[in-house]
Subunit: 254 residues, 2 copies
């Protein structure tokens, strides 16, 4: 399980301190915190526990983010010792998808020099199309790569968000060295709430092993983030979630 | 509103007889019934009311449909006097998307000669990717067209299912004469339940006018089906739903 990174939204019932202690106790070596979980002492606490940070979630929301906020996210990533800032690029706010997507492109372009100055790579994460009006107007890996190639940034491949795409394996192959992260969880039926109904790996219909092979064939060999946004998991004690994550991850890698 | 066709799932609180009477009273000229709404007298009742049938919903579900069931759907379409059978091709049942999609292709191929013999055209309707494991493993118009071109059948463009796709206008252009139907409703936020949370045209984020222009530029000038699968609408009296549909449709066309 040395490649397992726990994306801390999975255990958002915990404070960052509790999550750091819980991961260290479970033998997890990597974590990926969200910005709302951070305070001034987080970087030190993570380092002291011997953990590494695979990515910071998240920058983006380019149509609505306060001025300077994405720049601060870049700086926070650097301070945490990760070179990956995940971008959730922001939802469709009205009927004008073209403008929404152009706003996102301009936002990334404006942020890129700051990220480069801090040694942080920007990873555009395409989200499932059902989250178009909730989270992200970038909804396919192909579209994310069109942007990433043009702006010379990276992409994040989250299995839950892209597995449905008939074109996904071809696009993963195209992505090659631009893949800055691979996220896993699972898709269950009935799908329930569009935001927080993900499941642990193995409980659903995503062929995670196949997607992992594709991502690895494209050259990605970094941490694999387990990111399970789930009301059900949030209702459990964090220790129990961590135990299940480690077990499922080990099974997925065997 | 002479192009308005009411897809009768929108008023599923009504029997077919009630829906026929309600549509005729509202000046609607076209309807699209679902198979579960039909009985042996339906074709005659529709004809007697002076209504025409734009399509029959639905054939498909190729992995699970009982033998002969899709052939019967073709015959029912012919009996209703429509030459369009909408295909909802069936969900992903396990982790094997490739096999699910191959099963669908074989199913359509096997059904096509029967449809041709009855003068019925098969329309593959790609459904929103969030319905992959509930309804349809065919989730993009591009994928539907790959199949439709290979098997020489048609496609259905439902705005709700395809509007998110960065490639949708290009694919509509590619579809040309294969477009056998254009369905409208709207996408609201929060998205709620993945199956039955559609909204009336104008209440959400879909640029329906733009999609209609694209479909018309591709050559489609047939009926436009209003298909609003919505728990909220089903709780209203059918007359009220029909009134709102006619009003919204007229506004959409103005």
């Amino acid at each position: 399980v040395s490649r397992l990174s726990l994306n801390l939204i999975t255990v958002d019932q915990w404070s960052l301190e509790e999550a750091v202690a819980g991961c260290a106790a479970a033998g997890i070596e990597w974590i990926a915190p969200w910005r709302h979980q951070l305070d001034g002492r987080s970087a030190e606490a993570i380092r002291e526990a011997g953990l590494r940070v695979s990515s910071l979630c998240r920058g983006g929301f380019f149509a609505t983010a306060p001025p300077g906020d994405n720049e601060r996210a870049v700086e926070e990533a650097a301070e945490l010792g990760t070179d990956v800032l995940v971008l959730v690029c922001g939802p469709l706010l009205d009927r004008d998808l073209r403008t929404a997507r152009a706003t996102i492109a301009r936002g990334i372009e404006a942020l890129a020099p700051h990220a480069e100055a801090y040694g942080v790579r920007l990873g555009i994460e395409p989200l499932h199309p059902m989250l178009l009006s909730e989270r992200s107007a970038i909804v396919t890996l192909g579209e994310a790569l069109d942007l990433a190639e043009r702006l010379d940034v990276g992409v994040i491949v989250d299995a839950y968000h892209v597995f449905w795409d008939p074109d996904v394996e071809e696009q993963i192959g195209r992505a090659g060295g631009r893949i800055l992260g691979f996220h896993v969880s699972d898709w269950v039926t009935p799908a329930g709430d569009v935001v927080a109904s993900r499941a642990l790996m193995g409980d659903g219909l995503i062929d995670l092993a196949r997607l992992q092979r594709a991502v690895e064939a494209a050259g990605y060999d970094g941490p694999i983030e387990v990111e399970v946004i789930s009301e059900a998991l949030r209702a459990l004690p964090g220790e129990e979630v961590v135990r299940a994550v480690v077990e499922r991850f080990a099974k997925m890698q065997s």
